[in-house]
Symmetry: none
Subunit: 415 residues, 2 copies
């Protein structure tokens, strides 16, 4: 099955919004064995949309459309879809009921714009939107399936996961099995070199993909075949071989994240955690608390953005700040001790650095960041030398700190 | 002048890389009045590329191609371009000299792959790449200009800023002008209804678009015309009319964010800020500190995830926790007071709630969140009733709290 993605919206074309939806859809469709052959971004003008629908139809069996649904006037997607399919628009009473219930729940009035939102092309199959008011729509037209979804990422994802993926799976002849090895602390080319011979020896129905993000690489092994049990076993055998080679970078599998994995270990061992963050500004605690149930092990954080807070709440010594500077091994050590004491936890993470883009010196250029983890017995501090990009530095540092804690908890840092 | 963007690379289609280049080009071209009419992402297969070049040529007067240039085997862009233009490839001695000088400078040897990199279609006009080895290329073909650039973002940006933008400016007849009104605290349909008559009365060369994200909507007014001064004035007049209507939701313009705006006001008034976060887990401080220079007004945060930390560090009373619960107006009030006192700042933000997806009761279901802002004289607390989605609740709450602080700082909450 071949698919195309059509993204609607002038805001994408003129660069006000970066199109992350298409990357998400590319990955999800790949997982269920659907190949994306083309991707179009067009304005929300009638002719441009008609043109894109026609081109996408020529390229593929499945056309995924995102964007251009919603209550305001610039959302003309449904009208143009109806024209393209040569169908009429009708007012759907049931969708209007759903919408009224939704707005009653959040205590807002329904407007005429919302009523207009309930006009649909005839023969629309609805894909319920659990996160918003505009439903996904499925149309069959001349041997091509068209699926139109709202552009808001979490709404689009909800519809994709709950309706589009199951539908595509039901249409597959072959069984596709993916197993993802989650790694941190190494680049993709280093990992690829470590398992080069395994990859070279793979049969044609097994693939390895490297999916890098800041500080992490997912290594995905995929197998395709008619026999579910056989293909799963084959993939598992290869996964085992790979893990054997790259074990020191592996932190989990499939849907594991560094933050969920750290939480799992803390819960198992009955431990508690606190943070002291300076340049990351709350990013590490934000990650830790993104895990539902993190209150079982996470006590809290002091974001000590100023030196005064470092001293007054965390008890960092004035002389350490003066002698070594706020961005130093010594200060991070004292921040760990301070967090352990003030919040009375078993473990603490601390970070201090120059996130940038300004504020560097010759000795400590922008991107100099100290991360540390420890308990009352032992502390491990690392100096990172990162980029001039503030956002990237904060994100990378947060994951590096979590990974350092994970390695300490699993005994990987012992001498 | 109409333009299309063609992005080459399988890694973009399957979602391994998020295409940020196209957004950048869209914005840059918009600034010089070139309208992007379509955008294609294709694999690096010959047929797909030829197909995309043909389509892009049909759509526009200018085709910008990124990706698919460089020393590795899969970079066949130049070969396919030569085929598309019906031109031969030739070895360019001068480009090879440039390349040799570059590699000598970084102390690396040149390889056969680099030599192959110096094959170009005949009649190529070179756009020097100050950041890497593959130059940009310009071709005129049947009344369409093709510009091909490397996919590495900083190389592509360098060529765009230094060569593409000046070229386009020299060719412009029409001028396009965008002005974005940044709003928070209202949905897009309510805003649309408030300015419906203004929108209905617009001339055809002026457009309004609504760009929603969680808790915020950008209202963008765009105008096209030959006279730069006249079109800017016309857009500004309409922007003023719109702002008059929706003033209570407007927090800024163009590239302003809630976090940058709050920072701006604090700096202007010489104020300082601290946070006490519970269910948002550091998300508000993460936003505040994403602004470079925020250390000028931001002191720090206590993420008091457990009740113990609320009591021990922020001084929330045991009896308040017992009588009203951690998620209550009273506790948020005490968190504000605690943050003001412990961190000795002029203002504080505090949040406590049930982010979900579990943990609700009949009286306080999942999504019940109290946000508060205040100084030693005055506090403003609001109760939010949000969704069951943890990530959405945290994000929405963070922006709502920042907006509440902004409104307090601008006197919008006074009686």
């Amino acid at each position: 099955m071949k698919a195309s993605i059509v993204t609607i919206g002038t805001e994408i074309l003129i660069g006000q919004i970066i199109d992350t939806n298409s990357a998400y859809l590319g990955e999800k469709l790949g997982e269920v064995g659907v190949e994306i052959v083309s991707r179009f971004a067009v304005s929300d003008k009638r002719e441009d949309m008609l043109n894109a629908f026609e081109r996408a139809k020529n390229d593929s069996d499945l056309v995924l459309i995102t964007g251009g649904l919603g209550p305001t006037k610039d959302d003309i997607t449904k009208k143009v879809l109806a024209e393209f399919f040569e169908r009429d628009l009708y007012f759907d009473e049931r969708q209007y009921e759903v919408l009224k219930v939704f707005f009653k729940m959040i205590n807002r009035p329904t407007t005429q714009a919302h009523k207009n939102q309930c006009l649909f092309p005839t023969n629309t199959e609805f894909l319920p939107n659990g996160m918003g008011t505009a439903p996904g729509m499925l149309f069959e037209f001349q041997d091509t399936i068209f699926i139109s979804m709202p552009g808001v990422p979490y709404e689009m994802k909800h519809i994709t996961e709950n309706h589009v993926v199951p539908l595509l799976l039901s249409k597959q002849e072959n069984y596709i099995y993916h197993y993802t090895i989650q790694t941190a602390g190494s680049g993709e080319s280093v990992l690829a070199e470590m398992i080069e011979d395994i990859e070279d020896g793979l049969p044609s129905h097994i693939d390895i993909a490297y999916l890098p993000s800041l500080g992490k690489v997912r290594v995905r092994v995929s197998g395709t075949g008619v026999n579910k049990v056989a293909i799963e076993k084959e993939v598992h055998d290869i996964v085992e071989q790979i893990i054997d080679r790259i074990r020191k970078f592996v932190f989990g599998e499939n849907l594991d994240t560094l933050e969920s994995k750290v939480g799992e270990i803390m819960k198992e061992q009955g431990l508690s955690l606190a943070c002291a963050e300076s340049c990351t500004g709350g990013s590490i605690s934000r990650l830790i608390t993104s895990v539902s149930g993190s209150s079982a092990y996470f006590e809290g954080t002091v974001v000590s953005y100023s030196n005064r807070i470092k001293q007054e709440i965390l008890g960092v010594k004035q002389e350490s700040l003066e002698k070594y500077g706020a961005v130093s091994e010594q200060v991070v050590e004292e921040m760990i001790s301070g967090a352990l004491q003030v919040m009375n936890t078993d473990y603490a993470i601390a970070v201090s650095g120059i996130a940038g883009p300004t504020g560097g010196t010759d000795e400590k250029p922008v991107g100099t960041i100290y991360i540390g983890v420890g308990n009352t017995d032992q502390q491990h501090i690392r100096r990172l030398q990162l980029t001039k990009n503030r956002e990237k530095n904060i994100e990378y540092t947060s994951y590096a700190a979590l990974n350092l804690l994970r390695r300490m908890l699993t005994g990987d840092l012992e001498n």
